[in-house]
Symmetry: C2
Subunit: 328 residues, 2 copies
């Protein structure tokens, strides 16, 4: 009989393991503080009668996009889109060959083109994101993004979403949360792919925007995208975007840079059960390692705030078993 016991135990373990992994809502997360903190938070707000219970209607979670849900290095995907549009539209704009920042883009000198910083970026976005209907723009983005590749890794940009964050989105939704994207990226740009990429429908996408103009052209109603900036959904703009689009304070917020600081403050500096976290880009092997000194996705003040307020840091190297879907 003694001989049988280890065999029975081994069999029990063999059957138990698949069952356990089936019920793990976050299989791409390593066991550790981050995963435990997420699960404890969700258990708390969903336990009826518990001190931390939150009604389903108030389970609002907000997510930054670039660097939080998908990769933002070597530069924002939307910037590569704008650069490709400059090239595609150049024949209609002969003056661009002699006007910066367009001239440098057309010569392939991207660094020089954007040496002008925000102003140069705004000019390129304005020129490439206006002069068409919202419907036309949507098709253009969709056509582009389904074949676009990251210039450094060569991987399709749509494959460079973070698998652990997809699981987090699904886990929250399975627990009654409404998940929103709250990003500095263009709202019309994002909506071309966010439902497919993240399972988040258009009304739950909050972003930066240009002015729109309604008109009826050839008997057909349309919304024309104009070059003027309407709203910048970044930094102190993020709580404003949240109020405009959602109209209630979130109970969970996820970002990766100082541009998310005010969104996390708005969400977590308050009473009641709250969860705030920064994705900390610590993995130079599987992704990129950067924070304080990065020109894209700088995380500096945010790190101090996380330490002051006890927000969670998702340590990409340590916490994530997998970074991108279908990789190890």
């Amino acid at each position: 009989m003694r001989l049988m016991r280890p065999l029975i135990t081994a069999a029990a373990v063999a059957f138990a393991l698949p069952a356990l992994s089936q019920t793990d809502p976050l299989p791409s997360w390593n066991d550790g503080d981050s995963k435990a903190a997420i699960i404890a938070f969700v258990d708390g707000v969903t336990t009826e009668g518990g001190d931390d219970f939150v009604a389903v209607a108030d389970r609002v979670a907000v997510f930054d996009n670039d660097g939080t849900l998908w990769a933002e290095k070597p530069a924002y995907v939307q910037l590569y889109f704008a650069i490709d549009r400059v090239k595609a539209l150049a024949p209609q704009h002969p003056d661009w060959t002699t006007t910066e920042p367009f001239a440098s883009i057309l010569k392939g000198d991207i660094d020089k083109a954007f040496a002008g910083g925000h102003k140069a970026i705004a000019e390129v976005i304005g020129a490439t994101h206006s002069g068409m209907t919202t419907e036309e723009f949507n098709s253009t983005v969709l056509d582009w993004i389904t074949t676009a590749k990251n210039p450094e890794t060569g991987r399709p940009v749509l494959d460079m979403v973070y698998q652990p964050m997809l699981e987090l989105l699904a886990y929250l939704r399975a627990n009654g949360f409404q998940t929103f994207v709250v990003s500095g990226g263009g709202i019309d740009f994002m909506r071309a792919f966010t439902e497919q990429a993240y399972g988040i429908p258009n009304p739950q996408i909050v972003g930066s925007s240009g002015k729109l103009k309604f008109d009826i052209v050839d008997g057909k109603p349309e919304l024309l995208k104009e070059p003027d900036v309407d709203f910048i959904d970044d930094g102190p703009g993020k709580p404003v975007g949240i109020q405009m689009h959602i109209g209630k304070q979130p109970i969970a917020a996820f970002g990766n840079s100082d541009g998310d600081l005010q969104m996390l403050q708005y969400t977590c500096i308050t009473d009641g059960p709250r969860f705030c976290a920064f994705v900390h880009h610590t993995d130079g092997t599987r992704e990129w390692a950067y924070d304080k000194d990065s020109n894209v996705g700088q995380l500096d003040e945010g790190l101090s705030a996380a330490s002051t307020y006890g927000w969670t840091l998702f340590d990409m190297a340590k916490d994530w078993k997998v970074v991108f879907p279908g990789t190890q």
Copy 2:
């Protein structure tokens, strides 16, 4: 045997009648073209495999508020709120006793106060809807609206929602629709009562807005309401508001005035199954009778468009069995 048949039939009818009325989704609507058109539309878009089937994700219905979901006569409820705020805040603004339009409001001469039209209204809204946090404003509106009464009928303003439209909202939602308010009214003003009044949560309220400013005051994050106008969700602004907040074209739109014309054009001048209707204020006995010549809720161009495009007119006197909840 022949004698038995009518009896059986009578019994069947007796049992069938209560069952029929239980399943009538629009009990406050009289039988007629309007009710039949609504039901035919909903049946069409929900019949899987049918020509008019629309996926649940695309079942978006938009509703104007003033004059479409609740009464707007003798003037917008939000204007009465602003007037009461002027009176409440007057001690802190001694200059108002000599500055128009405030002076006339304080003297009780509302007509004179608003003789200046849009400019006077904007000034009063700016002065009474700013200088506090969104949270403080929300409580102020909620306190006010739960006791506010219509100056002509004496009924609580929250009781002057239209029972048939509440049934329409519920019927659409029961059939997989997402229902949105898209109103010229203030977004923060509406959100104080729209969930309670219409069962529509804050993220589904689209309205006019003032600028907001994020700040941390005494360690507490807050959004301060500023006096500058940010967005006017009226006329051609309605399709813009729809794109910003919803990001897809609705398949059903309901309004009552020319300010809704572009929203109905955007929704219904397109292929595919669509439903557009104006609430036509034809009932001077139970409500107010007005259209072309009204200073509030003018419906003129809209009537022509409805005739051109075959949109439905909800004839309040003829189509509605009941106007307000709990009345006959």
